[in-house]
Amino acid sequence: MLEGEPLLRLSGLGKRYPGVIALAGVDLDVAPGEIHALVGENGAGKSTVVRCLSGMETPDSGEMTFDGAPHRPASPAAALRAGIRVVHQELELLPELSVAENLYFEHLPRRFGLVDKRKIRQDAVTALARVGLRVDPRTPVGRLGLAARQLVEIARALAADSRLLVLDEPTAALTGAESARLQGILRELAAEGTAIVFISHHLAEVLAIADRITVLRNGKSVATRAAAGVGATELVRLMVGRDLAEEYPPRPATARAPGAELLRAEALRVHGGAGELDFAVHAGEVVGLAGLVGSGRTEAVRALYGADRRAGGRVLVCGKPIPNGRPTKSVHNGLGMLAEDRKDQGLLLDMTVAANTSLAALPMVAHWGLRSGKLEDQVAGTLVDRLGVRTSGVRQAVRALSGGNQQKVLLGRWLLADPGVLIVDEPTRGVDVGARYEIHRLLLELAEGGKGLLVVSSDLPELIGLCDRILVLSRGRIAGELTRAEFDREKILALAYSGYLTSTDEEDGPS
């Protein structure tokens, strides 16, 4: 597979932004039919490489050649014409347009300048089926959950054929099922001769799918290895520059006796949701919420927190019922939630790292309503160091941060606010292994300190590694609950599917 003239070659690629060197010499070559993985810490420069070769940014130095000819795309359009198709890390869909229109937005099929709606709807059905997303093609994308949108984005890239396909963390929000299916598709494409660049922080996944792996560190390519010849530990060493302890932080051998009940959901119903949810989170406990894509985990925790109005039931914090649909009250009562979609529900993109960090704890950095910029910078600074956020300073606009680093900033926001119960939805989405370990440690620390944690994650190993208890959601209902002793991949998956198997209407199945 690897022999023959490379389709894409980058040599000494360099890119700098105000205050930051994003790329300081990246060499990379990708052969036709090769699946080439790109790994590296958050902020290592992976997405910047993608932005350069997809015509979003022009590199300051270095050479790009595509198919033997110099490659200097002046615009995304140019790159597309060359046959380079990208699934970007931050989803770029049009929420108001239907799934179908988003899929074919590049070249809306037209009859004499008019959109051919029927055709795109028909095509959409097959395209969606391919990635295993069962949604009506006419659904506005805005109504989909994050993972569903991610799948749409992927389906869209697959819909048109390309010579080089670049996927920047396509699986960050997917459960095992979807990513497995995706891997299958990618292998097919590679077999047909498409070159593929695949970016991910899930090393296992990377090792499973890639032919070769290039490691970026601080904007330099430090090594390229055949996937066959390396193990996770070595990759980590190459990425971080040091060895890492095992993937999940150590836990007290004996499961802690859960403390007082901090959070309880009684007959909680979400709008349009199927079932009623009853569960509790105790002090010192890490409770996981598992489920398939679209199983309603996010909807559940949003209703719990008051981000959306709940259709029914009560939510009690420390035995005290909290009002419906009022995040303010939830926070006052010691609840906090790290939202799933960082771009839309978390980040103040054009504001500083400091401002983003202090948002949920402004009183901490102010006296009688007067902010102390100095104090804020200090506080933010400590968190930036603690979480290893890669930024040129706390006064840097958070927009300028890499995806994973943005995620860390948001986590920092809630660490600072320090609520009694913290809900985290996909907490390590797009976060690199090192930081992921660090975040897990912090979460456990919180639990040790007597806080309650509710963790939603599509990354099953993460939940297994982290939780004391796991609730499995299936079709909006709690299909089962497992204690740490009973944790087991198969069991959890079985429960996750259960709700759909009993389903009469098979259309309604999950991915």
Partner: protein
């Protein structure tokens, strides 16, 4: 909203009724408020419903409707055009001077005049769009500048004289009727229809909405967003040019002071019609209804015989109530729809 349920599936009859209601409400838009208003006037102002008065209303909303059609395109991409009023004046006086230029045969003069009006409008629009796009500056401020430039140019060009004896054919057209409707209003309707078609059926229309929703995404999909944004301003300009001709046909004059404050009315029609000034949301039908609402309101209040000052107050009040009512309607609609899709 369980979007993963195929909405195509058969639904129980009892539901489908509330579904229908829900969808009607969902589509109806500001029409509901308009309907209420019309009923009130019918009840309290006897002459309101007379054919004559309805024709009055039509002629009176013609201008604003035409301007609002163009404005809709601009607003959909998240822009705004404050210059429509004075560009209208500029187009009018240029056209007027050609139409009354005795070096030309009346026929040619008329023809050239109309062309000139449209051309002037298009050019001003082009400048608005090009500068905004090239320098990534807010269209608000560029078109505000154009508002002054065009106004001054119109005054300079005519030296403040009102141009009057315009060609007979033109003024005849201004009072002509077509199938019982004022001809000028038919023109407005035609433009609405055209605009609706372009927005909802053509690829260009899709791009307009898309650019207004997420320009970056459109760019990444390989489209030339700049081009889309410039064209909407040109479209708006063309509409202004047409509006200028209609104005001359109706009022028989071309004066450099006309069109003052038209921009607010046009934008109002668009926004009342349900458009969002940040772009991506809005529709031609909505705009038409918005323009009707404003026209019906001012006409009806005169018929009711309320004093000038009260009229001003009530106008404001009704605008607010209408929009609030609309917001309320939208909520009910979503509630109903979300219920029935379970």
């Amino acid at each position: 909203m369980k979007t993963d349920v195929p909405t195509t599936g058969p639904t129980a009859p009892d539901r489908s009724r509330s579904k229908v209601l829900g969808q009607v409400l969902g589509e109806a838009g500001i029409g509901v408020a308009l309907l209420v208003l019309v009923l009130v006037f019918l009840a309290f102002a006897p002459q309101f419903g007379t054919g004559q008065n309805i024709r009055n209303i039509m002629t009176q909303i013609t201008l604003n409707t035409i301007l609002a059609v163009g404005m809709t395109f601009v607003v959909l991409v998240g822009g705004i055009d404050l210059s429509v009023g004075s560009v209208l004046a500029l187009s009018a006086v240029v056209a007027g001077s050609l139409m009354t230029w005795d070096a030309l045969s009346p026929g040619t003069g008329l023809l050239l005049g109309v062309l000139a009006a449209v051309l002037v409008g298009a050019l001003c629009g082009l400048v608005n769009g090009a500068v905004t796009e090239r320098w990534k500056v807010p269209s608000f401020i560029i078109t505000l500048g154009m508002l002054y430039v065009a106004r001054g140019a119109a005054q300079e060009y005519t030296n403040a004289q009102t141009i009057y004896n315009l060609p007979r054919e033109l003024t005849l057209f201004g009072t002509a009727t077509f199938l019982g409707l004022p001809a000028v209003f038919v023109v407005a309707l035609a433009l609405v229809a055209l605009g609706w078609f372009v927005l909802s059926r053509t690829v260009f229309g899709r791009l307009v909405y898309a650019v207004g929703t997420n320009e970056e995404a459109v760019r990444l999909a390989g489209h030339r967003t700049g081009w889309v944004k410039v064209s909407v301003f040109v479209i708006a300009g063309v509409c202004v040019g047409i509006a200028a001709v209609v104005y001359m046909a109706r009022l028989n004059i071309a004066s450099p002071i006309l069109g003052n404050g038209y921009e607010l009315n046009a934008i109002a029609a668009v926004v009342i019609g349900g458009a969002s000034l940040t772009g991506g949301r809005g529709s031609m039908i909505g705009t038409l209804l918005g323009a009707c609402l404003l026209g019906v309101l001012s006409n009806g209040l005169i018929l009711l015989g309320v004093s000038d000052f009260q009229r001003t107050m009530i106008t404001g009040g009704v605008i607010i109530v209408a929009v609030v009512l609309d917001a309320y309607r939208r909520r009910v609609a979503t509630r109903l729809n979300s219920v029935i899709t379970v």
